[in-house]
C-alpha cells in the first residue's frame, strides 16, 4: 500500500509538471521553478509535511520537495535568529542537495566533457 500511494502521489506531481509543459506551454525551466515554488507554498500552508508522511518517496523525491526543504530550513532558522535566519536557513537543509549537484556535475564534466 505504501508503494502504491508513493507511486500515485509521485505520479500526480509529475502529471502536473507534464500539464505545465504540454498544455500551459511553459519552458522546462519555468516548469521546474513552478514546482519548487508550489512545494514551498504547500509547506507554508502546512500541507507538504502531512503529504510526505502519507506518500513517502512519492512526495520527497519530486522537485517539489526541494521547495519544501527550502521553506523548512528558512522557517527553522528564522525561529532561532529572526529575519536573518530566513536567509541563512534556506541553504541549511538543502546544502547537501546543492553541493551534490555541484560535485557530481564537476565529476561528470571531467569524465565526459559535455559539449551540448
Amino acid at each position: 500500500m505504501t508503494f502504491l500511494w508513493a507511486f500515485l502521489v509521485g505520479g500526480a506531481i509529475c502529471l502536473v509538471g507534464q500539464f505545465l509543459l504540454d498544455v500551459m506551454k511553459l519552458t522546462p525551466a519555468h516548469t521546474m521553478a513552478s514546482l519548487v515554488v508550489a512545494g514551498a507554498v504547500l509547506n507554508g500552508v502546512g500541507l507538504y509535511e502531512p503529504l510526505a508522511k502519507f506518500a513517502g518517496a512519492g512526495a520527497s523525491v519530486p522537485i517539489t520537495s526541494f521547495g519544501n526543504a527550502l521553506m523548512k530550513g528558512a522557517m527553522a532558522e528564522a525561529e532561532k535568529d529572526g529575519l536573518i535566519g530566513v536567509i541563512t536557513g534556506i541553504f541549511e537543509v538543502t546544502s547537501a542537495g546543492i553541493s551534490a549537484a555541484i560535485v557530481f556535475g564537476f565529476l561528470v564534466a571531467v569524465c565526459f566533457r559535455p559539449k551540448g
Binding site: L21, D22, K25, P28, P114, K115, G116
Partner: protein, 336 residues
C-alpha cells in the same frame, strides 16, 4: 529577369554542373543514405566542437560539388552560403578555407534555395560563370543554438523536428550539361502569430503556400505544370497542413505530386517526431536524392520550395511570434 511581382525567369537556363550532399551518422541510417556523397560515422567528425564539425561538413560539401563539376576552387567566381549559427559562422569559416569571393546569406532552412536562386541570377545576368551555393546544419550545434543543452534531456512534443546533420552544395554554371535552373520566386515573410518553436512545420506551411501561389501566378503556369513540388522541411505536421491549405486556396497541385524533404530524409522513424529540419535538410535531400532521381529521368520539371523559420532564441524567449519565409526554385531537365 523579373516576371510578375516577385519571380525571376532565367532565359539562359543556368546549369547545375556539380552537386554534393554530406551527412552524419543518423542520416546514414535513413532511407536516403545511398544518395549522400559522404556519410560520417562520428557526429564530431574528428573535431573538438560541434561548430567545427559543422564547418567541416560544409567545406566537404563545397569541395565535393566543385570536384564533381570538374573544376578547381579558384575557377569559382562567387560563393553564397549560410547556416543556422549566430553570425553564420559555419559559412564564414568555410569560406575562409575555400578562399572564394563570398557573400553570406541567411534564410534559416530556406537558405538552400535562396542561395540557388541568387546563384542562378548571378549566372543568368552574366555576372559570373561559376557560382557555388551551399548550406549546412548540425543537429547538436543547432540544439545548442536554439534550444536546451542536450545533456539537460528536455522533452519535446510530437510536432518538434530533428535538425539534419548535413551539408549540401551546388555549382551553377552558364554552360555545360545537367539540370537547369529556369525560374525562382522570392517569398515574402508570412507570420500567422505562431509562437511555439517546437511546431515550426505548422508555422512555415502558410509561408510555403504564399510562395507557391505567387510562383504559379507570376509565371502564369497551370497547377499541374510540375512533375513534383517539394517543400523544404515542413515535416508531417506542416505537410498535412499545406495539403489542406493548397486546395482551399485553389492551388490544385495534384497532392500525390507533393512531397516534403523533412519527411523523406528519415522515413517513418518516430525518433524524429514530425520529421527532419534545418538548412541541411532541404539541401541534402534536393542535391543528393531528388536531383539524382531527376537526372535518371524520373521527372521533367520540379519546383523546390525551401521553407525557413526566421526566429532567434531571444525573439521567442521574449514572446515574439515566428516570421516564416519560403523561396521556390524551378529546375528542369536538360532536354526541355
Amino acid at each position: 529577369m523579373r516576371k510578375g511581382y516577385q519571380s525571376w525567369v532565367f532565359p539562359s537556363r543556368p546549369v547545375i554542373v556539380g552537386r554534393a550532399a554530406i551527412g552524419g551518422p543518423f542520416e546514414a541510417q535513413g532511407p536516403l543514405a545511398n544518395d549522400f556523397d559522404t556519410l560520417h560515422g562520428d557526429l564530431m567528425i574528428g573535431q573538438d566542437s560541434w561548430e567545427k564539425a559543422e564547418r567541416v561538413l560544409l567545406e566537404e560539401a563545397c569541395d565535393k560539388a566543385i570536384e564533381k563539376a570538374g573544376l578547381r576552387r579558384e575557377q569559382i567566381h562567387f560563393m553564397l552560403a549560410g547556416d543556422l549559427m549566430n553570425q553564420t559562422i559555419s559559412a564564414n569559416f568555410a569560406a575562409r578555407t575555400l578562399s572564394i569571393p563570398f557573400m553570406g546569406i541567411f534564410g534559416a532552412c530556406s537558405t538552400a534555395m535562396e542561395g540557388l536562386a541568387l546563384a542562378a541570377l548571378l549566372v543568368d545576368s552574366q555576372s559570373a560563370d561559376y557560382v557555388l551555393a551551399a548550406t549546412s546544419s548540425h543537429n547538436s550545434s543547432a540544439e545548442k543554438q536554439y534550444r536546451y543543452p542536450t545533456e539537460y534531456g528536455s522533452q519535446k512534443p510530437p510536432t518538434a523536428q530533428w535538425t539534419v546533420t548535413g551539408a549540401g552544395a551546388s555549382v551553377v554554371a552558364n554552360q555545360g550539361n545537367g539540370l537547369r535552373v529556369t525560374a525562382a520566386t522570392i517569398g515574402k515573410i508570412v507570420d500567422m502569430g505562431m509562437t511555439d518553436p517546437f511546431n515550426m512545420g505548422g508555422a512555415m506551411a502558410p509561408a510555403a503556400l504564399s510562395t507557391i501561389e505567387s510562383h504559379f501566378r507570376d509565371l502564369q503556369l497551370s497547377h499541374d505544370h510540375y512533375d513534383l513540388v517539394v517543400t523544404g522541411d515542413l515535416g508531417k505536421v506542416g505537410h498535412s497542413i499545406l495539403s489542406e491549405l493548397l486546395p482551399k486556396h485553389n492551388v490544385n497541385i495534384p497532392l500525390k505530386r507533393y512531397v516534403d524533404c523533412g519527411m523523406l530524409i528519415y522515413g517513418d522513424n518516430p525518433i524524429v517526431w514530425s520529421g527532419g529540419s534545418g538548412c541541411g535538410c532541404c539541401a541534402t535531400v534536393t542535391y543528393g536524392h531528388l536531383l539524382r532521381r531527376f537526372q535518371e529521368g524520373e521527372w521533367k520539371r520540379i519546383l523546390v520550395v525551401a521553407t525557413g523559420a526566421l526566429l532567434s532564441p531571444i525573439s521567442y524567449q521574449q514572446g515574439e511570434s515566428i516570421p516564416c519565409i519560403a523561396h521556390a526554385v524551378a529546375i528542369e531537365a536538360d532536354t526541355l
